[in-house]
């Protein structure tokens, strides 16, 4: 989080300097303000939704769904769980380490991490807000099978 803030601040300052030289800095900040207030109501609801998903999908339930004996089902359930876990990398990777790593095959692990990134349900509010339903349908219809397929590949090659 701090790293992201530092990197974004450096980007913002750099862009401000460039914009100032072109006399466009005020225009840029106005554009930023307009974008921000346009999406603010949506962002507030997005945070509420993410908060409740966080609360209603508890760690224990996730653990129960994925035992050692799940076998090939892990390639379906694993990505489904990955897609549900919220809170960014600093929440997901520690959870993965403490709950799943020792209980799943390489394929399930790869499928779960891939799904957490590519088809995370927590991204849906943002995607709908900024890009619209057509993009969301296109993205998910292409992405949905990828985690399971790469998991299968990982099991075949490295399992």
């Amino acid at each position: 989080m701090t790293d992201a803030f530092v990197v974004l601040t450096v980007m913002a300052v750099g862009l401000m300097v460039v914009a100032y030289r072109q006399g466009k800095h005020i225009e840029g900040l106005k554009e930023a303000k307009k974008m921000f207030f346009n999406v603010l109501p949506l962002l507030l609801f997005a945070f509420i939704i993410v908060g409740f998903i966080n609360l209603l999908v508890p760690e224990e339930a996730l653990k129960a769904w994925l035992g050692e004996e799940s076998g090939w089902k892990g390639l379906i359930i694993g990505p489904a769980i990955g897609a549900l876990v919220q809170g960014g990398p600093f929440a997901f990777f520690p959870l993965f380490d403490s709950v799943f790593r020792d209980n799943v095959t390489i394929g399930t692990a790869v499928a779960m991490i891939t799904a957490w990134g590519m088809i995370n349900v927590g991204h849906l509010p943002y995607e709908l807000t900024f890009l619209g339903p057509r993009f969301v349908v296109l993205k998910y219809s292409i992405y949905i099978a990828i985690p399971t397929l790469v998991g299968l590949l990982a099991n075949l090659l490295f399992g």
């Binding site: 914009a19 945070f47 409740f52 692990a109 995607e127 709908l128 619209g132 296109l138």
Partner: protein, 180 residues
């Protein structure tokens, strides 16, 4: 825009109801407090992120976007999109608005799918923490196996579904350029 707000409000209300049924008011209020804490934590980041997105939208000339990420980029688009996705920092509240800005400026949708796949699969800013918790071996295996995916999905969409770009651009424009 308003429809989306209503839809999301409805989802929030349903989730709050589920929380109420499961744990009464204490659970509902902790849901809101998690939301509030997340918002407070991310707020400074959000402000800077929007400043970056706003400045990018003013500074990046449309010709440049369409040259590197649009139709003119051809087969190179998904490669450039994947590379940018690998490098761009921060979370979904930053890169989805950025994608909207780039689409309005003329980026192809397939190329944006390359971007978002690379952002969520290969992002270098995430690599240190993934290695910390997942371990080097599994991280390397995951990178090797998913390596070609961002380029393949973007290339395939640009090749087989070229008509989607304009339709999605229209939808994004309706959302973002609406006079406030």
């Amino acid at each position: 825009m308003n429809k989306t707000v209503l839809g999301m409000a409805a989802v929030a209300v349903i989730l709050a109801l589920v929380a109420y049924i499961q744990g009464g008011f204490p659970l509902v209020s902790s849901g809101f407090s998690i939301a509030g804490q997340t918002l407070l934590r991310i707020f400074p980041l959000l402000i800077v992120a929007f400043i970056v997105a706003g400045l990018v939208s003013i500074l990046v000339p449309k010709e440049m976007v369409s040259k590197w990420l649009g139709k003119e980029a051809g087969w190179k688009g998904p490669f450039v999109g994947s590379l940018i996705g690998t490098l761009v920092p921060s979370g979904p509240f930053f890169f989805y608005p950025l994608m909207a800005t780039l689409i309005i400026s003329g980026a192809n949708v397939g190329t944006m799918l390359s971007f978002v796949a690379a952002k969520t699969l290969w992002n270098i800013a995430r690599l240190p923490i993934e290695i910390t918790f997942v371990g080097v071996e599994l991280t390397v295996i995951r990178f090797l196996i998913t390596f070609a995916i961002p380029i393949l999905v973007g290339g395939a969409v640009n090749l087989f579904l070229p008509g989607q770009s304009d339709k999605i651009k229209e939808e994004v424009e309706q959302r973002q350029l609406k006079k406030s």
